[in-house]
Amino acid sequence: MVPTNYYLMLSAVLFGLGIVAFVFKRDIITIFMAIELMLNAVNLAFVAFSQALGKPDGEVFVLFVIIVAAAEAAVGLGIIILTARNRRSLNVENVNLLKL
């Protein structure tokens, strides 16, 4: 049986990678994938805890996260497609109208 620590470390590494990509990449689709990566890192931690404690709570949360992620993907991809159409670009540096 794999110790829980290993799962958690993998989860932390994945989450860290997600953050790095989220902050430093400029491509909207990459940023979007970074978010998915972070979500799934968290899912991994949930499942690991669920297994370690022998309780189903964590797995229930994972289901919720997957559902929210699916919804988010639908909306997010819609926004991305519109952005791409309107601006002919997928660079976030160009999406900066929201300021005073």
């Binding site: 953050i19 989220f22 902050v23 430093f24 976030v92 540096e93 999406v95 900066n96 929201l98 005073l100």
Partner: protein, 650 residues
């Protein structure tokens, strides 16, 4: 089984006009005039009928003062002010005067106001006034009385400013309201003092406590004297006595039925009623009584002199009202409370009649109020003329009209007063001569001589029946209203004083044989005085007189002793200066606006600085989110992190 249905539900008497007011005020704006005045007249008429029934039950009960506590209104600690109504002899008089005269004036108004804008508004206010006035006279404690007191003040304000598009009318309304505030301030202080001393403001409880106390000496300013003087300050405001009378002549800006109902017959007599109601307190405070007598007497004379030369028919009557109210206070001040109330009642009849008849004259003249532009109306408006003449004879005090009895009772009591009675009597008598003079001057200028108006433009016409019938009823009352005291002439009982004696005491009833012949002699003197005024007026005005140039004393009187100008210079102007230069330009602009604007500017400056972080760059937002998450993480795990980070160092 209860044999006193109305007494048990005494609240119905004031409630009916309140309902009428609410119905007309809320729904009447699109109703035809007929429906509006049906509601108003119905409410007042029913109220009058209920009052009559209540009085019948009162007599059927053997004149037992009735009192009922309907519900608690304010309860705080040992203080209780309830919605308590009472009906005793004094209330009976006031109740019948208010509902009866009020009803007649309502009828009159249907004719007088028929072509005015805001018909429903007028009747709504008038009914509201009836409600508050009835609360005032039925109240069984000072707090509830004060509710009515303030309420009638409000209605007075609303009705004086009825033609609110006219600047002078709205100014007059403001003046009445503000001057009354000064009086009410005194009234409230008086109530506070009474509560501090006796721990109750209920009439019965208060008077029961005050009754056995020793009377304060003349010239002594004890608690009771101070309280009574403060109450009287309230009365001078409401009842237009020196020095607060200035609002009443200006109040003539209101429609004439309002002048008749509020500023002659009922509201302005509230001060007299309140003083009479508090007579137990006043009897213990001779100094306060003396002040009441002097103020009343001075007002009676002072206002009468102004009335001598006024040219506006309503202004003459207004100063006459002030003067007659002075008589009532003179009566109260010398201890003849029932004489004061008697004069209050007769005055309500003949002064309401005078105002209504004057209104009829104004109506006939198409709105003209200047007597110098009238003349020769006697043959053209006969009913109005005869009614006005009746009222004039009544107010002048000729036998056997109403004021003969009531004014004589007051003057007789003044004559017998312990403190400077002869002086009070002499001034009162002088005022009686003046009264007779200015009233007959009014008659001659208005109804006799050649007409001084353009007959082609003014179509003089008699008023419709709904205006003249109230005049006739009031004329009848002006004639007979004093007959309660008729038997006193041949040594019998004065039924009016007798009726009120359980409440007001029988101070002046102790009339021996010598006193009786003295009273007869004084009556004769009074009639001679009235005759003197009549003759002087006749000699001066029987010929076709022209309005001469105003000089000397005449000018001083015509300008009302410049009291308004004096008050303006002494009170209004400094107050305006203070408001404009200190309160407005310093406090309002500097402090208040400064604070508000300062906060706004501060917020704006902070926003300007902080908004720099809103760069529009998505990735910088991401970093902020990350930083925030880190901070939250550190805060949550601080207990774990602290030993890890710093524990190792040690």
């Amino acid at each position: 089984m209860s044999t006193t249905p109305i007494l048990e539900y005494l609240w119905i008497i004031p409630l009916l006009p309140l309902l009428g007011s609410a119905i007309n005020g809320l729904l009447g704006w699109k109703w035809p005039n007929k429906l509006v005045h049906s509601v108003a007249l119905g409410a007042t008429g029913l109220s009058f009928a209920c009052a009559l029934e209540a009085v019948r039950e009162f007599f059927a009960n053997g004149q037992q003062p009735f009192r009922k506590e309907f519900f608690d209104w304010i309860v705080a600690g040992n203080f209780r002010a309830g919605f308590d109504l009472q009906l005793d002899q004094l209330t009976v008089v006031m109740l019948l005067v208010v509902t009866g005269v009020g009803f007649l004036i309502h009828i009159y108004s249907t004719g007088y106001m028929a072509h005015e804008e805001g018909y429903f508004r007028f009747f709504s206010y008038l009914n509201l006034f009836m409600f508050f006035m009835l609360i005032l006279v039925l109240a069984a404690n000072y707090v509830l009385l004060f509710v009515g007191w303030e309420g009638v003040g409000l209605c007075s304000y609303l009705l004086i400013g009825f033609y609110f598009l006219r600047k002078s009318a709205s100014n007059a309304g403001n003046k009445a309201f503000i001057v009354n505030r000064i009086g009410d301030f005194g009234f409230m202080l008086g109530m506070f003092l009474l509560f501090r001393t006796f721990h109750t403001l209920d009439f019965n409880a208060l008077f029961a406590q005050a009754g056995p106390l020793p009377s304060e000496a003349m010239g002594q300013f004890g608690t009771l004297t101070i309280a009574c003087i403060l109450l009287f300050v309230g009365a001078t405001g409401k009842s237009a006595q020196l020095p607060l009378y200035v609002w009443l002549p200006d109040a003539m800006e209101g429609p004439t039925p309002v002048s008749a109902l509020i500023h002659a017959a009922t509201m302005v007599t509230a001060g007299v009623y309140m003083v009479a109601r508090s007579h137990v307190l006043f009897m213990h405070a001779p100094t306060a009584m003396y002040i009441v007598a002097i103020v009343g007497c001075a007002t009676a004379f002072f206002a009468a002199t102004i009335g001598l030369v006024q040219s506006d028919i309503k202004k003459v009557l207004a100063y006459s009202t002030v003067s007659q109210l002075g008589y009532m206070f003179l009566g109260c001040g010398v201890g003849a409370f029932s004489a004061g109330i008697f004069h209050l009642m007769t005055h309500a009849f003949f002064k309401a009649l005078l105002f209504l008849a004057a209104g009829s004259v104004i109506h006939a003249m198409g709105g003209e109020q200047d007597m110098w532009k009238m003349g020769g109306l006697a043959s053209k408006i006969k009913v109005t003329f005869w009614c006005m003449l009746f009222a004039t004879i009544a107010i002048a005090g000729f036998f056997p009209f109403a004021a003969f009895f009531s004014k004589d009772a007051i003057l007789f009591a003044a004559f017998n007063a312990e403190q400077s009675g002869k002086v009070l009597y002499a001034v009162g008598l002088l005022a009686a001569i003046l009264t007779s003079f200015y009233m007959f001057r009014l008659i001659w200028l208005t109804f006799f001589g050649k007409s001084r108006f353009d007959e082609h433009h003014v179509h003089v016409h008699e008023s419709p029946l709904n205006m003249t019938i109230p005049l006739m009823i009031l004329a009848f009352l002006s004639l007979t209203g004093g007959w309660f005291a008729l038997p006193a002439l041949w040594g019998g009982k004065n039924y009016f004083a007798d009726f009120l004696s359980p409440i007001l005491g029988s101070g002046e009833a102790a009339a021996g044989e010598a006193a009786h012949s003295l009273e007869i002699n004084l009556s004769i003197v009074a009639v001679v005085a009235a005759l003197a005024g009549l003759i002087v007026a006749w000699r001066m005005y029987r010929k076709d007189v022209k309005q001469g140039p105003s000089t000397g004393l005449h000018k001083l009187l015509y300008n009302k002793y410049y009291v308004d100008e004096l008050y303006n210079a002494a009170v209004v102007s400094p107050l305006m200066w203070l408001s404009r230069n200190v309160l407005w330009k310093l406090v309002d602009v500097g402090v208040i606006d400064g604070t508000v604007n300062g906060i706004a500017h501060g917020t704006s400056a902070v926003g300007d600085t902080v908004r720099q972080t809103q760069s529009g760059n998505t990735r910088s937002y991401a970093v902020w989110v990350l930083v925030g998450a880190l901070v939250v993480f550190v805060i949550i795990f601080w207990p774990v992190l602290k030993p890890t980070l710093f524990g190792a160092v040690r």
